[in-house]
Each structure stands twice: as structure tokens, then as C-alpha cells.
Symmetry: C2
Subunit: 718 residues, 2 copies
């Protein structure tokens, strides 16, 4: 089920939306400057290959095309209705769609959820009609959809521009941004396969569209602009399916509302509740989606992917005709996480024969300012053939002797031969433009500056690594569900949502999360026996559902070293809490817990989000989490590699590797605890929050143990 | 003195270089495609306002201009010689310059330091001639110099292009990069005041050029591309003079070789030794230079400055006709350290009257997709007038009703009236281009995407803040130089460069750096008396110039709580070290030191760089410095505000503010210790390295104290 309440098997069949045989434009208009006119003209002049039916009760024809008074009047099968009528009438038109068997609609009209109040109600009614009659509805409040499939050629938008054909699929939550992007793409020579503004996504969601583009043979790379996601786990599932395996397609996304202030603007804009940025970061990491910050990067990266082999690694060769830009490229290479290739001996030897004495033969190869295409050819041949190179960046500055167009031809030719990706940076704008045209026609990604080239190459290498790394299967541990069920039922019955420590530890232990040895003792006698069994020193803690602040109530005794101390401590705790909180306090007993030797302290936590489900947190204990906010989040359920990765993700991970001669900490034990926690919160949706603080982590091989646990159940019992 | 050995009073008189009345081009050539031809043609066709003399013994005329056999033959005063002859002959030409009274030369020719070997020698000879005859020499191995001063109009380069006139001064260490930049600027419509490639900077350095541009009335913003700096402290002095006060000019710099790999490429490229990146970072921070990563940012930022008022703060108003880009701008605003302005009530009230009901009246103001220029006018008037707004970003997406050119006119008009800066983001490339032209002519900075606009605005706000914050004067403390002199002389005489702890502590104490009470005791009796005087507990440490590892040699006793323990400890230490290191070990006594209560531990350190002088380091002790590398550097001498700033600069500064209810640490005491340390290492150039590790920092008001200190003197005694 997605959050819209429709049961889905994805991908939904959206073929009628993307490649309709016939389109009715309800609200097509003769009035120039109106949306109804602009949209119909775009369809008509855009070269649509099917049949168009303008619908307008007041017009005989629009732009020479016979007009119909209503959908019903058409009397022929219609695959798609594009609706541009005032909000209330939209519902009527949708009912008419149902009556006429129109299975797909694009609602351009605004005045729905985004205006609040009655608009919200109207949108709810729209969804009900769509569901009832099984109509795919894109929008409302959107710019529309463009398909550059030559078999369809449909510009069902009211934008000023028809995009160029290409292999980028673009999905946007903002219609206005689409206009700006179309204008930018026109100037920059960027083409699209499909271009969709999805507006309020009342029915067809960004995930449906993503799934469609994932299967669309014309689309080689998917770009998204989103302000929120409808369903986090479903997005992860669909995106992983697209970004993985031998036919992986990259997905690049801009998610705004990244800062708290930005998120506030988002919710007033779309009426949708944006989640916190940590959740989105986790979603993108887990789905292999490359998150980018700016539109420029979005298109820079997008260019890097189509028609290019996947790099096998991150070792970059650089060929340049100028030292300065070579240094800039080297800096950028390292800054963006790539490696400067170390050439094999024969590469330098072969270069020595072909380049002048002043050339630099090591990476970056400097063919010197007066180089013409023959030197570039020699350098590219050698560098691309080197086994230690995974990809090559070619830099050309326009100097006096530089034959820009010939060099461009050489680059295109090398890119055609090589099984490794090449990208080019012809620096400047005017003198290099003839060369840039040749690169573009030859499908070689091109950038004006070395940093952009290197950053795009880094995105490509990251994606290649993600796509070829198999997702490890989810691991399922044998666990004791009965104990958990018993604890939760008992607590529920007693009307408690905050589970006290001893019960929380039982739940953790039932799922195999290691805990410090503990026992609930009803008497001093019991406590002494338990302590003798587990060994000293021990801690005693009051176990009462009414005592929230154990230490402040005198309910904790630590470092008890022998039986006598335990007996005395037991009585003292009881006396303390009773004197503070009254004699009739509900007390279950006293928790006897073995005191663990000093160790690294980490925190594992879970919070559950309405849209995203359980979100798992990991961090180092104390100041690292509280003051330095050095934590990592991932969505449950965790795959084993994701658990490993989130531990390594925190800045202070080095402290777990052991500093100043310490032994490294038992990171695999932490990873297993994370996986068991993931299974626990996935099995038990009633867990609203959970904290293990701290999990004591011992040196490598010695494991870990939870020293304290806290579980909060959801308020609404089922 | 600069590092080239010339005594300078800056700015050097470079008028003859930048605005010569007459130029001799030695090596001008008739051969098309040669550098000597290209350069002479550029001068001739570039509109140079003075007299040109081509010098070439084999030609009668070049491009119709009478040619001279030698400089001597000209027989008229020549202000500048541009030299394009083979390396060895350059020296001869320079001698001829001296003979003819030519005071300025641009040496285009390569084959000097950058090729190593004999080239290094040649360059040394070149410098000697320049020094001897007081000739300003730019280069060698450079592209040349362009002055767009209408009174001069000199293109003394062999680049393909003449730049457009403008107000950007550009200084570059890479000639090839200049070519690329000229081409980019041509396409992007960016103009320059002065454009200089300085090559090997054998004589005229980047600092001389910077000082010149700082005074040049045509130059409103200075851009630098540098691979190394000749003299760090001098750069700081000159740059501070330019970036400060009411007539402050911004300096934007790209410094490559940022990563270790990049630096390696730089040193092979220029033959100059690049310093480590931390030093450069410190230099830029202290001089108010904005360091940028990419050429694109360099020009984006550069556009933001000229002809614009300085923002008084960081509170940004946003006006947009589309929600999505408004959110992107809001995100970027926060990400780049700006604040979203909170409008005053009357602003929202006035907007309510003038904008449609669906408009968003709060920041970002959304004038809605069908807005024309009148709505932009109303919104801009209100937002710019709001007292809570320091600057405004206007976003326009090209939608159906958008009258791009009229809106551009409104923006230009508002920018003209307003005392606050405005920048514009007309999204897209083609449909908005007519509007962008109007903005450019109206001197309104323009960007294609909201992130770029906001980042440039952030650079402007940071610079404005820097420029208006007075540099606090250096503080000079009363100190006891005699003690320091005595210690250093004694150690020097004994041939020791590594000063042992007790002497290092004496030096620190002499400069008022607080130390834990200490005394050197010759006998157990002395030690007991000292301990009684300072109070218990105490630490005893062996004091011997031969014992480097005190703890490992059994030379340390801690937590001694009474007199008996001190006496016993004294004897035990002596016995330990003698048994390990022999009876005839040189022992000065035993250091008795008061043990301090637990406190936050910080590290203060100094290393001295040949080019940059003493570099001061600050960090939190232990893992923060060692494992997390969380440290800040600044060049000595420190101004008081710089000391404060470097403490706040580290990521873990929050730990000094007090977390988990702790009292905040005594940060002012740390700042004073840094200033005293700065005075110490400035007064005593023989200090090569110095460490205070740890400085114990007590809660606010309780001060700080050095618990251990280490000083290393330079090897070469004077």
C-alpha cells in the first residue's frame, strides 16, 4: 500500500499517460496567452503523432482543429484527458472520463491542496474519483508532461519551450522550476526523454513516475527535483531496483527543504509535511540515489552518464596542455574522493618517445602549451591503455597553436575506442565552442572547468561502485518473540507506554542484543544470590514503573563489591525511594546488574516516522552525540553492509579503530547489535522509540553489551 | 625585505609597467603564428595610446611599423621593454635596457627556473641585473600584461583575445589559465581593468602586483590565481591594507596545490616550493582574502562586488515568482551562513494590499507565477525598505505571463534607489537573456541559479563584515626578556637545541604564560621544602638534558601526597634513571611540580616556516588533536581578535563552552596565553618549535596553567 491508500503493484501501468494514442484537451482555449491555448498549441505544434480533440463548449475550432462540447461528444476512444478547467469542474470532468472510459488524466488546474481549506477537501474528492474508476491522474497543480519518444512526441505542458530529444528523464515537484530548466536546457543543448511536472501528486506519485522511467528504454539517467517523498521505504525499494545490477540507471536528486528554514518554506508551499533532513539523507544513501545541491550540478552529473562505459575504479589519468589547470584538476581529483592514477613504467616510456623533452610524463601528463592534436592523440592512447587508469580527464586551454577542433575529434575517437570513460574540459567559452560542439555530437561529456569535470567524474565513479556492489541479503536471526509479546502485552494492559529498564533489557536480550548480566531481585536475599552468580562489582537500580529519574530518587547504587554491600544497598534504595515517593509506591523489585569494565560507549537508537517507518541511529556516546551531533541514520530494515557502513559514517569512527596504541573496538559486535535491533523494530511496529545508551564496546573479539535500555510504545494501542 | 633580497617600500613604483608612454618589443616578428608577431599585433591593434618600437635586427618593418635593430638604435626614451628572445639573450637585452635607461621589462621568454638546471642559474643572473640597475622585471615565462586603462590600452600579451574593459583586476601565476579565462570572460561578458600573468616572479612578485592593484582606481575587485606565495607575513600586511577600512577592496583567490597530491604537481610545475595548505588557509583568513575553490565561483563572486553598496548584515529578503526556487534559495541562504530576514509587520501589511490573495507575504515573498513587473516592483519596494533586511535576492522563472525585460528594468531601478545590495537570479538561459542584458548594463549582479546568487551574496556579506570590523592593535605585554636570553644562551653554549622541560617552563613563565607552580630541586631536602611551599599533591620529574623519555626511564612520580612520599620519590627516581642510564648521567636535579586538579586540556604549539615565519596552532588535547585533527592555525604575530577567533575555529569548541551542565572554560585565559606565546616567538626568532601540551584550562575566571612545555631552537646558531 502506498500512502495514498491505493494498493499497488509497481510499476503501475502508466503507458496511457506517457504514450496515448489520442488526447482530449478539456479546457482548450482560443484565447492567446491563456494556459488552455498554450497547452493545446504545444501539443499541436510539438508534432504529436496521435489524434487531438480540443474540448470547449464555446468554440467551434481551436487553431483550425474541430472542437468538441464535451468528452462524451467525441465518440471515439480517448486514452488521455488533459484538464485545464476551474477546480470544482475538474471533478465533473473526471466523472465524465470514467463514463467515457478515459483511463488517464493530467490535471493542470490549481486550487487544490496547495491553497488549503476547501482545496484540501476538493483534492480528497478528486482522489476518491480516481480510485473508484481506476484513472491514473497526474497533478493537480502541475505544468504537465512531455514525452520525447519519437512514437509519441507529446508536449502536454503550457511551458514556452519544447525540449530537445535526449536521454534524460526529469521529474519535478515544482512546475515553475520546469520552465527555468527547459530554458536552461535549450541554451545548454541538453535533451530529454521524458519531462514530468507532478504537482500535488494526489494520485500518481513521484515513486510511480520513477518506476516508469526506470523501465523506459529511452531514459538513461533520471533526474528528480523533490520537496518531499510520499513513502520512504517504497522509494528505497523502487530506487534500489533501478540503481542496481548490470542495467543500472543512475538517479540524481535535488531534495530541498534541507535546512530547517527551507523545510518551513516547503510545507507552506506544497501543503505536504516534509520530513527532517536526516531521514532523507538516509533514504538517498540506502537507495543509491546521488543527492546533489544545485541545478547546475544536476545537469553536470547527468551529462556524465549516458553513452559512457562504467569506470571500474577511481584512478584518474589527466592529460593537459597547461600546468595550472593540471594542478587544479589534481586538487579536485583528491578533494572529490578520486585517486590520481600512478602510471605503469611503459606508459612513461612510450610518452617519452612521443612528447617533447619539456613535457611532464607523469600524471597529470602535460603535453605543453604548443601541443596540437597529434600530441593529444599520443598522450590519450598511452593514458587510456594504462592498466592503472580507470578513467581519463582531458584538459585543453586555447593557446596560440591549439587546434581545438582537431583535438576534439581525437578525444571523440579515443572515447569511441576506449572501454574506459573519458571526459573533456575545453576551458573557456568562445574559442573552444567549435570543439565543444564536436564533443557533444560525439557523446563525450564536456565541462568548462576542471573542477566540474572532476566532480562529475567522481559522481560517475561513486555510482559505478554502488551499482556493481551487490546488496547483501537481509539477515534474519533466531529470536524469542514470545518474551517480547509477553512484555508488550503486560505493559499495554497496565496502560504503560514507557517500558522500564529491566523489561527493555529483557526485550533486547530476547532478540540477542548482548546485555550486561542482569536480574530482577524481589528481596535482598535474591539480590545477593544474583550478585554472587554474576560476579562483582554490581549495580543496583530501583525497578518501578513510577520512578522515572532513578538516580535523583536515590534509587541507584554503583560499584558494590561484595554480598554485604549488596544487601545493605538493597535496603537503602528501598528506604530512599519510599521516603521520597511514598510508602505505597509500586515497586517490582531491584535490578541487579553486573558492572562492566570500562569500554568505548556507543549509542544505538530508533525513532519511528509516520512516512518512513523506523529510523535507526548510531553514534559515539556522551559529548560526541550530544555536543558534536556526530551520528548516522539509516532506515530499517538494515542490510548487513548498511549496518557496517553507518558505523563507519560518523566522523569520530577513528576512535573505534583505536588511537594511541589502544586495541581496536569490536565493530562487528556493534554491527550485529544494529542488525538485531533492526529486526526487533521491524517485527514490532508498536515500538515508537528505543534507546540503548550506552552499548559498551570491548576490544576486538570481546563483544559488546547494553548497559541501559529504554523503549517507548506507540500511544494508540491496536 | 622581501624574499628576493630587494629592500622594498611598497607599493613599488610600477607605473612604468602598467602605463608606459612608449614600449619597445624586443623580438617582435614578421612570422605569423610566432609569439613575437602575436604580441606585437596585440599591442598595435589593441589601441595602445603611446609609441611602439618593434626591435628586430632582421626586419625593416613589422605590420607597417618601422623596425629597429636594437634598443640603442631607437634613440628616444622607452618606458617599457617587452622581451621575447631566447633565454640567454634576455640577459643581454636587460643590460641594454639599463644602458638606455629603460626602467621596466616584461620577459615573456621561457627557459628559466621552471626548466631547472641551467635555467635556475640564468634566472639568478636575470635577477642580479634587475636589482643592479633597478629595473622592474615581470616574468620571465609569462603571458604578459594587459591594461584596460583608457589612457593606456595596452595588450602586451600573446593571447588570442583582448579582454573587455571592466573593473576586475586579475593576477595569475599560470599563463595558460589566463588564455582560458580570457576566452571564458569574452563569452560571459566579464570585463577587466588590469590582467597580469606574472610567470616565475623572479623580480616583480604577486605581492607587488597586489599592492599596485590595491591603489589602482580602475580596479574594484582583485582576483588572484596563485600556486605559492613569496612571503606570507608581507602578503598579510599588504592584503590587510587593501581589504580593510572604508575604501576596502575585496581580494578573491584560488590557491591550488590544496591537497598533498596537488602540491606535488605544483612544485614540479613552477619549481617553487609550495607550503602546506594549513599555512595558506591561515594567511588568507588573517588577510581577509576570500579563498574560492573554482574559477566559476571566482567570477560569480567577483560580479557581486563592483558598483554595489556593502550589506550592513546577513539578513536576506527573497522575492520569487515560484515556490520551488524560493525554497532552493532559502536552503542556500542558510547553508552558506546567511539569515532569512524576518519582515516587520508593516511589510507584510503593505504586501497584502498589492499582491494577490494566493501570494506568500512572508519571506520568501512569492509573487506567484503570473506576476508581471508591477508585482515585482511592489514586492521589491517593500522588501528593500524593511529595516530587518540587509540585502535582497530576486528570483524570476520564465513563465507564460512573465515580462522578463520589464522585470529586469524594475530590478535595475530598485538597485539604483536602494542603499542595500540587490542581486538577481533570472533562471534559465535563452528566454531570460534579454532581461539579463538589461541587468548587466544596469550593474546588477546576475546568476542563473539561486544557489550561485546566494553563495555570491554570502561572500559579499562576509567581506563586508571583515572590512568593517576594525583590526585590533597588537598587544605588547611586559615580559622578562633577560631570563629568556639567559636560558637560550646557556643552552646554545652547551650545544643543545632541545630545551628541557624545566627551562622551557621558565621561558614561558618569563613571558607571563601561566604555568603550574614548579621548582628545580637539587636534593630530597629541597624537594620536600618546595612541595611544602606549593602544597600537595605534587609530581616529581627527572631534570636531565640526556633523559628524553622521562616516564620510560622511571624518572616520573605522580600524585605524591606528603613530604615523606616526596623524599622517597626523589631517591627512587635518581636510583631508577642511574640504573637505566648509568651513574655518570648529567642530572640537574628533580623538577617538583604542583599537580593541578582535573581540567580541560588544550594544546598550544608553534612551528616556524622559512617563508611564513612562526605559525601558531591551537587544539583540544588528546584525541581531538591527534585522531580528529581538529586544530586551528594562524601566523604570528597574533592580533587579539585573531587569538579569540582561532579558539572558536575548532569544531570541538563547544566542549569549551561547557556541555552537560559543566561551567564554561576560561577561554580568555587561553586567548591571553596565545598572545603571550605569539610575542615570545616573535621576539625570539631562534625558537624553531614550541609546544605547551597540555595547557590545563579551568572553569571561567579560574585561569589556565601549562603543565608541560617543550622548546626546540634552530640548529644554526648566530
Amino acid at each position: 500500500m502506498n500512502t495514498n491508500g491505493r494498493e499497488t503493484t509497481r510499476p503501475r501501468d502508466l503507458r496511457g499517460l506517457f504514450s496515448p494514442q489520442s488526447i482530449a484537451v478539456v479546457g482548450a482555449s482560443r484565447t492567446e496567452g491563456s494556459v488552455g491555448h498554450a497547452l493545446f498549441r504545444n501539443l499541436l505544434l510539438g508534432g504529436y503523432t496521435g489524434v487531438l480533440y480540443p474540448v470547449n463548449p464555446k468554440a467551434r475550432s481551436i487553431l483550425g482543429v474541430k472542437c468538441y462540447k464535451s468528452l462524451t461528444e467525441i465518440g471515439e476512444p480517448v486514452d488521455l484527458a488533459v484538464i485545464i478547467v476551474p477546480g470544482r469542474i475538474v471533478l465533473k470532468v473526471l466523472e465524465e472520463c470514467a463514463a467515457c472510459g478515459v483511463g488517464n488524466a493530467i490535471v493542470i488546474s490549481a486550487g487544490f491542496k496547495e491553497v488549503g481549506g476547501d482545496g484540501v477537501k476538493l483534492e480528497r474528492q478528486l482522489v476518491a474519483i480516481a480510485r473508484k474508476h481506476n484513472i491514473n491522474v497526474l497533478g493537480p497543480n502541475c505544468l504537465g508532461l512531455v514525452s520525447m519518444d519519437p512514437a509519441t512526441l507529446m508536449n502536454a505542458t503550457f511551458a514556452r519551450d519544447m525540449p530537445m530529444p535526449g536521454n534524460i528523464g526529469f521529474i519535478s515537484q515544482s512546475g515553475a522550476l520546469c520552465c527555468a530548466i527547459l530554458d536552461y536546457a535549450k541554451g545548454a543543448g541538453i535533451g530529454f526523454s521524458q519531462f514530468i511536472s507532478f504537482g500535488n501528486k494526489a494520485d500518481v506519485s513521484e515513486i510511480d513516475l520513477l518506476a516508469y522511467l526506470g523501465q523506459d528504454p529511452l531514459t538513461q539517467v533520471i533526474l528528480m527535483y523533490i520537496e518531499d517523498l510520499s513513502d520512504g521505504p517504497e522509494f528505497v525499494r523502487v530506487a534500489q531496483g533501478i540503481t542496481h545490477g548490470p542495467h543500472a540507471k543512475p538517479i540524481l536528486a535535488i531534495k530541498t527543504g534541507r535546512t530547517p528554514q527551507g523545510a518551513a518554506a516547503a510545507s507552506s508551499h506544497t501543503g505536504s509535511l516534509a520530513g527532517s533532513d536526516e531521514v532523507y539523507e538516509a533514504v538517498f544513501i540506502q537507495s543509491g540515489v546521488l543527492r546533489v545541491e544545485t541545478i547546475e550540478d544536476l545537469f553536470h552529473y547527468a551529462q556524465a552518464f549516458p553513452n559512457q562505459p562504467m569506470p571500474a575504479g577511481r584512478r584518474i589519468g589527466i592529460v593537459t596542455n597547461a600546468g595550472g589547470p593540471g594542478i587544479m584538476a589534481t586538487d579536485a581529483c583528491i578533494r572529490y574522493g578520486l585517486e590520481l592514477a600512478k602510471f605503469r613504467d611503459y606508459t612513461e616510456k612510450s610518452l617519452r618517445f612521443q612528447l617533447p623533452a619539456t613535457a611532464s610524463l607523469r600524471n597529470p601528463v602535460d603535453v605543453i602549451g604548443d601541443a596540437r592534436h597529434d600530441r593529444y592523440q599520443a598522450a590519450l592512447d598511452a593514458v587510456c591503455a594504462d592498466e592503472n587508469t580507470d578513467a581519463t580527464v582531458v584538459i585543453v586551454t586555447p593557446q596560440n597553436m591549439t587546434d581545438v577542433t582537431e583535438i576534439a575529434r581525437v578525444v571523440v575517437e579515443s572515447a569511441g575506442f576506449s572501454k574506459k570513460p573519458i571526459c573533456a574540459c575545453f576551458m573557456g567559452l568562445v574559442d573552444v565552442s567549435a570543439g565543444v560542439d564536436i564533443l557533444r555530437k560525439g557523446n563525450v561529456p564536456h565541462y568548462s572547468f576542471p573542477e566540474d569535470a572532476m566532480r562529475a567524474m567522481a559522481a560517475r565513479c561513486s555510482f559505478a561502485q554502488w551499482a556493481r556492489t551487490p546488496l547483501k541479503d537481509f539477515k534474519t536471526f533466531d529470536v524469542d518473540k514470545n518474551t517480547v509479546r509477553r512484555v508488550f502485552e503486560t505493559e499495554r494492559k497496565a496502560g504503560r507506554t514507557r517500558i522500564i529498564e529491566v523489561r527493555a533489557l529483557e526485550v533486547l536480550r530476547a532478540y540477542g542484543v548482548p546485555t550486561a548480566p542482569f536480574e530482577l531481585a524481589a528481596t535482598a536475599e535474591d539480590a545477593a544470590r544474583a550478585a554472587n552468580d554474576m560476579g562483582y562489582p554490581v549495580v543496583l537500580k530501583i525497578a518501578s514503573p513510577k520512578v522515572l529519574h532513578k538516580t535523583e530518587s536515590g534509587g541507584v547504587k554503583i560499584k558494590l563489591a561484595d554480598e554485604a554491600a549488596v544487601r545493605a544497598g538493597f535496603d537503602e534504595i528501598l528506604a530512599n525511594v519510599k521516603s521520597k515517593l511514598g510508602d505505597d509506591l509500586e515497586i517490582w523489585g531491584i535490578l541487579v546488574q553486573k558492572m562492566l569494565p570500562p569500554a568505548k560507549e556507543v549509542i544505538l537508537g530508533v525513532t519511528r516516522d509516520a512516512k518512513f517507518g523506523p529510523l535507526i541511529m548510531f553514534g559515539l556516546g556522551g559529548i560526541y552525540t550530544e555536543a558534536l551531533r556526530d551520528v548516522a541514520f539509516r532506515l530499517a530494515p538494515l542490510r548487513p553492509n548498511v549496518a557496517d557502513e553507518m558505523i563507519r559514517d560518523i566522523r569520530s569512527y577513528r576512535l573505534l579503530e583505536g588511537v594511541r596504541g589502544e586495541r581496536p573496538s569490536d565493530v562487528p559486535a556493534v554491527a550485529e547489535a544494529l542488525l538485531r535491533l533492526s529486526q526487533l523494530v521491524t517485527d514490532w511496529p508498536e515500538i515508537q522509540e528505543l534507546d540503548i545508551n550506552p552499548l559498551m564496546v570491548f576490544p576486538s573479539g570481546d563483544g559488546a553489551a547494553a548497559a541501559d535500555g529504554r523503549i517507548i510504545l506507540a500511544e494508540s494501542a491496536e
